[in-house]
């Protein structure tokens, strides 16, 4: 599903090149649950952003479903977001001015899903995440856990093939964190590919494979199972 070849990323200002990622080669198959680990500044989030096509790479090749992402234009990449990728972030990142319902609706609007289908999809999702009662509340009226729940729900509503999660439980208490992780696991069991970033060993254990990053390089890869 995903193949990275010699991907690198640096920021340059006039005099200095600051490397963030170097020589990254990796492959993710459909149905994988991959964890990216490493100390702060190792480039975990950047790698995730590149995988999610949110950030450009400075060099190397990236194939997503055999399409060369490094050669695609913005329009095409946006197409991939709509079609295949759902994001979950550490800081929940909901649109503050929209209610829970509207937040869930937005990706469907961009995907141009018909009204009737949209309504039933949202209803179904609200139901599944047990947040029907909250649908008319604004994000700042929800607790952190609830917000993250909505964020996950929003990522899932387009039925993505790939979920990218950047420390999805970082701001949650342990009980809420477990719930979210269990949910991701369940999705993975249904066939959704998941890539997560975490420092937490316990959360990392949910994955089939752990990629350790250090100073921008892949330090080692642990295969589980």
């Amino acid at each position: 599903m995903i193949r990275l070849k010699d991907v690198e990323k640096y920021y340059s200002n006039k005099f200095v090149k600051t490397w963030v990622l170097r020589n990254i080669d990796m492959e993710v198959k459909e149905g994988d649950f991959v964890t990216i680990m490493g100390p702060s500044g190792a480039g975990k989030s950047t790698l995730l952003h590149i995988l999610g096509m949110l950030d450009d790479m400075s060099g190397g090749e990236y194939y997503f479903l055999d399409e060369p992402v490094h050669q695609l234009n913005e329009r095409k990449r946006t197409g991939f977001h709509q079609q295949y990728i759902g994001f979950v972030f550490q800081a929940y990142h909901l649109i503050d001015e929209l209610t829970v319902y509207e937040n869930l609706e937005t990706p469907l609007l961009y995907k141009k899903v018909k009204t009737s289908e949209r309504k039933s999809l949202i209803a179904e999702t609200l139901d599944r995440f047990n947040i029907v009662a909250k649908k008319d509340l604004f994000p700042n009226q929800l607790s952190g856990g609830q917000q993250q729940l909505v964020a996950v729900a929003r990522a899932l509503i387009i039925n993505p093939k790939l979920i990218l999660a950047d420390e999805p439980t970082g701001n949650l208490n342990s009980k809420q964190g477990l719930e979210i992780m269990d949910m991701l696991k369940a999705l993975n069991d249904e066939g959704t590919t998941i890539i997560q970033v975490t420092h937490d060993e316990k959360k990392a254990a949910y994955g089939d494979r752990i990629i350790h990053l250090l100073d921008g390089y892949i330090d080692k890869i642990d295969e589980r199972n």
């Binding site: 329009r75 972030f89 990142h93 503050d96 001015e97």
Partner: protein
């Protein structure tokens, strides 16, 4: 999708109240200005378009070129031209002549009034022009030589609620006319204004020649066959008068009636008090003011865009295309523009009475009447929204989605250069407008205060209708007995502006074929003293020289110069002999240079009496004049005017421009300040930390204010560099309209610049001082 955008827009307006208020206020004011100006422009452009045959109606105009190189266009022709045009040119379907006599006394039973808006016209008048009737049949009304047609207003004035048709009105206390019809009051966008229409023959009764080739007093209108090529037809009629009058040098052509109001230039004749250049100028100002408002929006929106980076990034992450984001932000500014439109329509309704006084027009905001206006308004709104939203939309949508992970985004320096340009542009506009206002103001002051060569204070005139024109001896005697009167003189036309003119083609020492246009008036012995004019040479008309009344002539210095005379006294000019030369005085508006003027003596054809009051209580003097009048001429109404009023009227269009200009300049500057205020609040907020650190390091409050003010001072300085040459160019062009004009002085430009600077500093002062006096610890704790 649309719902989603709409919700976002409204929730954002609520969330950032201060910023939304500034944005909406700016747009509202800009659009209000725009609507007002559009109302005016639309009104100017609508002149005479209400006539059913507007596109085929033309006025016959004349062009003369004299041997001294002077050129003249005018729009009056001799009465004998009518049958000739009609017989020789089948292209002309209908033709009518009109004349506007100076005025008449109109009486119904015991009520009489001096009326000025009188027209004598051929019967075709009402079939060519579309002035709807309330009573009577427009097809037949003017065929009966003893009929009169009056306006609804006049029907009310004379007859009250009673039916007017069939009543009799007596003109100049001698001749009766039967009211045959009543027409609706004229719309203000007609170039002709009249309340009474008499049959053509009545012109004779009011003292005009109605036959022959000599009296160029009639305005000719023709209704052309629709298929006529006007260019070719102009060639055909060019020399018509020359063929019948050997001495004539006039060339004829046609002017579309719809062009009369705006495109008559210096042409003499009815109408033409508009000026297409002012229409362009004001349209431009409308666009510029709107642009200033749009720039405000762009500026504030980009400045505040940091608040929305998260949303933008997030939307991109969940699948928004750039085009969808652009649409969303444009949509938001369009929504804001529509809100502003609603407010500005309210504002227009509220301010309309004030604007009407200001502009001297009677505008109404009535959308059923102005379908085009409504469409235009809506179009302008959408356009404003799109223009204002364009840059923010492009700017905001260009963010990469990762920015949301990078915390609060600092707006980059590239963007701030663009903002500097925008702010400078606002000041360029403001400074240009200030300079324009200053120049127009100075020029008007100059016009009002320029020495005209005579004393125009305490000088009034009374119109002498009908037989009064022949009783001048009596009238003068009666007035001279009055203590309030210092001097009086009877004249054929008013001394400013003098309307009558003729082509002078004989004088002693004339070279070859020389001829030139000279104005003339007939006056009596006391004209010189009443006007307080000065002689340059020779003497004025005097009782001691009886021959003066036969062939005496007084000319002005310019006439002597044009004729090329060395010692003019005793020389022949026309049928007279020069007895004196008076110093030039301005007998026409200061738009034009002083031209030749010739005075002859007469007490017979006097239309006016000029009266100079003694200095003292004017109200009391006027009252005593009225008593004198009532005592002797009770059957005529007593109506006087000051000559000053008439002088002011010469510059009425400029005065209007001056007033409107002032208001719009004020508004434009205000809108610019509004934007600056918002921007200053933003930049000082952004520099909070810097200010805190500097303060901790010991920079004084004054120093901080200076540092913050520096930025904005720069904008104003750059703006001056650009606006000065632009304004200089535009204003020297405008001043060329006046033969007598002020010089553009450096201080005017400097004043505008300094004014703009002061306003800018005052505007940002509040934020700067607040930021400078804030406790630095507060600011630093944030980080």
């Amino acid at each position: 999708m649309f719902n989603n955008y709409l919700k976002m827009a409204f929730r954002n307006i609520q969330k950032f109240k201060g910023y939304s208020i500034i944005n909406i206020t700016g747009l509202t004011l800009g659009m209000t200005c725009c609507i007002f100006i559009l109302l005016w422009v639309q009104h100017e452009l609508s002149y005479d378009r209400f006539h059913e045959h507007a596109d085929s109606l033309y006025r016959v105009i004349d062009y003369e070129k004299y041997s001294n190189g002077d050129e003249l266009t005018f729009s009056t022709n001799p009465p004998a031209l009518a049958p000739v045009l009609k017989e020789e040119y089948p292209e002309i379907n209908e033709l009518c002549r009109i004349i506007e006599p100076d005025g008449a006394v109109i009486r119904y039973q015991d009520n009489s009034f001096n009326e000025e808006n009188i027209l004598c016209a051929d019967p075709a008048f009402f079939s060519m022009f579309s002035f709807p009737f309330v009573e009577g049949k427009k097809e037949t009304v003017l065929k009966d030589p003893s009929s009169i047609v009056i306006s609804e207003k006049m029907a009310n004035k004379y007859f009250g609620d009673v039916e007017a048709v069939g009543k009799t009105l007596r003109i100049n206390n001698t001749t009766d006319f039967l009211v045959a019809g009543v027409f609706k009051d004229l719309p203000s966008n007609s170039h002709i204004h009249f309340d009474f229409v008499l049959p053509f023959e009545a012109a004779k009764l009011l003292g005009n020649e109605i036959e022959g080739w000599n009296s160029y007093a009639y305005t000719f209108y023709v209704l052309l066959n629709v298929k006529t090529d006007v260019g070719l037809f102009n060639q055909k009629i060019k020399d018509t008068i020359k063929r019948y009058d050997d001495t004539a040098i006039v060339e004829l052509s046609l002017q579309p009636v719809v062009d009369i109001h705006l495109r008559s230039g210096d042409m003499w004749g009815i109408g033409g008090d508009g000026d297409i250049r002012y229409v362009y100028l004001f349209s431009m100002i409308a666009v510029l003011i709107l642009l200033v408002a749009c720039i405000n929006y762009m500026n504030l929106t980009t400045a505040y865009s940091g608040n929305r980076t998260k949303e933008i990034g997030l939307r991109k992450v969940i699948g928004a295309r750039r085009s969808e984001l652009i649409l969303q932000y444009m949509g938001e500014s369009v929504i804001l523009a529509i809100i502003a439109l609603i407010f500005s329509i309210l504002l227009v309704f509220l301010c309309l009475p004030f604007y009407n006084t200001l502009s001297g027009k009677e505008f109404v905001l009535n959308f059923s009447n102005y379908k085009n206006c409504a469409i235009l308004l809506f179009g302008v709104t959408i356009l404003t929204g799109i223009i204002a939203g364009s840059y923010p939309a492009l700017f905001l949508s260009s963010f990469k989605p990762v920015i949301i992970f990078k915390g609060n985004l600092k707006i980059g320096s590239g963007n701030s250069i663009f903002r500097k340009i925008l702010v400078s542009m606002q000041f360029v506009l403001s400074i240009c407008l200030i300079i324009t206002t200053l120049t127009v103001n100075r020029q008007m002051f100059y016009l009002k205060n320029k020495k005209l060569g005579f004393n125009n204070e305490h000088l009034l005139y009374i119109y002498l209708p009908g037989e009064l024109g022949e009783k001048t001896e009596l009238i003068k005697n009666e007035f001279n007995k009055n203590n309030a009167v210092q001097n009086s003189s009877v004249v054929s036309s008013l001394p400013l502006p003098v309307n009558a003119s003729f082509i002078l083609d004989s004088w002693d020492g004339r070279q070859g074929d020389d001829k030139f246009l000279t104005h003339f008036m007939s006056v009596d012995y006391d004209f010189l003293n009443t006007m307080e004019l000065t002689m340059a040479e020779g003497r004025f008309f005097s009782k001691e020289f009886p021959s003066d009344t036969q062939d005496g002539a007084v000319v002005n210095e310019t006439a002597v110069r044009v004729m090329g005379m060395e010692s003019p006294i005793g020389k022949n000019v026309g049928r007279g002999k020069i007895i004196g030369v008076m110093q030039d005085y301005h007998f026409r508006s200061l738009h034009s240079k002083i031209t030749p003027l010739l005075l002859i003596f007469s007490r017979k054809q006097s239309n006016y009496i000029l009266i100079r009051l003694k200095t003292g209580d004017v109200a009391q003097s006027l009252q005593s004049l009225e008593t004198t009048w009532r005592h002797n001429f009770a059957e005529y109404p007593f109506e006087y005017r000051f000559l000053d009023e008439r002088i002011n009227k010469l510059y009425s269009s400029e005065q209007q421009v001056e007033k409107i200009m002032k208001v719009f300049t004020l508004l434009a500057v205000f809108i610019a300040c509004l934007g600056l205020f918002g921007l200053a609040s933003f930049t000082t907020a952004q520099r909070r930390k810097e200010i805190g650190i500097r303060k901790v390091l010991g920079l004084s409050v004054g120093g901080i204010v200076k540092m913050l003010a520096n930025d904005f001072t720069q904008y104003v300085l750059y703006a001056n560099l650009i606006s000065w040459p632009v304004a200089w160019f535009a204003m020297s062009k405008w001043l060329q309209n006046f033969a007598y004009r002020i010089q553009l002085h450096f201080w005017m430009f400097l004043t505008a610049g300094v004014l703009a600077l002061c306003v800018a500093l005052l505007t940002i002062g509040y934020h700067s001082i607040r930021a400078a006096t804030a406790n630095p610890v507060e600011a630093l704790r944030y980080e």
